[in-house]
């Protein structure tokens, strides 16, 4: 196994990036990232249950510059994973699998994620 170093299919290094493949791997990436966000949700809730002091120190991190960048990344990842997840549910039902529709919903998913992220972050006072 170790001796033969041939490139593996699907030859990602020479494969032209396409919207479909990029959104597919982004779905995975955002899913992994949001799992980390779930751990932060646990921290936030445990902080809330622990008491005022613990909660306030967590809030301090959330309103710091790195907290805001993190929140923005989580919010965008959330909307993207939600939108793309809905695309997946439709595909599972056998709908929207025509290539033109796949591209339309793909671009729509990106646009909607960006717009909803900006609105959410604005309403939440992050930006």
């Amino acid at each position: 196994m170790e001796s033969v170093k041939r490139p593996l299919s699907p030859h990602l290094q020479i494969y032209k990036p396409q919207l479909t493949s990029i959104l597919s791997i982004t779905h995975r990436g955002t899913g992994i990232f949001l799992s980390l966000g779930a751990l932060l949700l646990t921290c936030w809730l445990v902080g809330l249950a622990t008491g005022e002091e613990a909660f306030n120190s967590l809030q301090l991190h959330a309103s710091a510059w790195y907290g805001k960048i993190g929140l923005a990344a989580f919010v965008f990842s959330f909307y993207f994973h939600l939108g793309n997840g809905i695309r997946h549910l439709f595909w599972d039902a056998g709908k929207g699998l025509e290539i033109t529709t796949v591209y339309k919903t793909g671009y729509a998913c990106i646009a909607i994620s960006i717009i909803l992220s900006i609105i959410t972050l604005f309403l939440g006072g992050t930006i």
Binding site: L34, S35, T42, L45, F55, N56, G124
Partner: protein, 126 residues
């Protein structure tokens, strides 16, 4: 008409040794998370910048506590299932794969249960 051979049907589950349970659970939790996560984001925006007492009072509301518990359960179940697929796809070594799968499942239970207990503590005012 099924294209599967009779012996294939009898054995039923193929090399994976299981059926569609994982796939179906992933979709069910996804479906549940659509309204629950939107509610969660809406709530976060609502309580942003609020002080400790306000957030405690918000979570002490039975409706909010129930929705938060449902959100936590669906979220961690969905995350564990999703991470499982990623690990199975990308980790070659069998023992590393199993170690990661166990770690993800234990961590999801630990973090999910901790979050749920925290919600109950606030809700019950303990």
């Amino acid at each position: 008409m099924s294209l599967r051979s009779p012996i294939g049907r009898v054995r039923g589950l193929g090399s994976a040794k299981e059926g569609v349970h994982h796939w179906w659970s992933q979709r069910l939790t996804a479906l549940a998370l659509v309204p629950l996560s939107l509610w969660f984001i809406y709530s976060l925006v609502m309580v942003t910048g609020a002080d400790y007492a306000t957030v405690v009072a918000w979570l002490a509301n039975p409706l909010h506590a129930v929705l938060m518990l449902l959100f936590i359960i669906s979220l961690y179940y969905h995350a564990a299932l999703g991470l499982q697929v990623v690990i199975e796809d990308y980790i070659d070594s069998e023992w590393q794969k199993i170690a990661c799968l166990i770690l993800v499942k234990f961590l999801a239970l630990l973090a999910g249960l901790s979050a749920a207990i925290a919600v109950l503590k606030v809700y019950l005012g303990l």
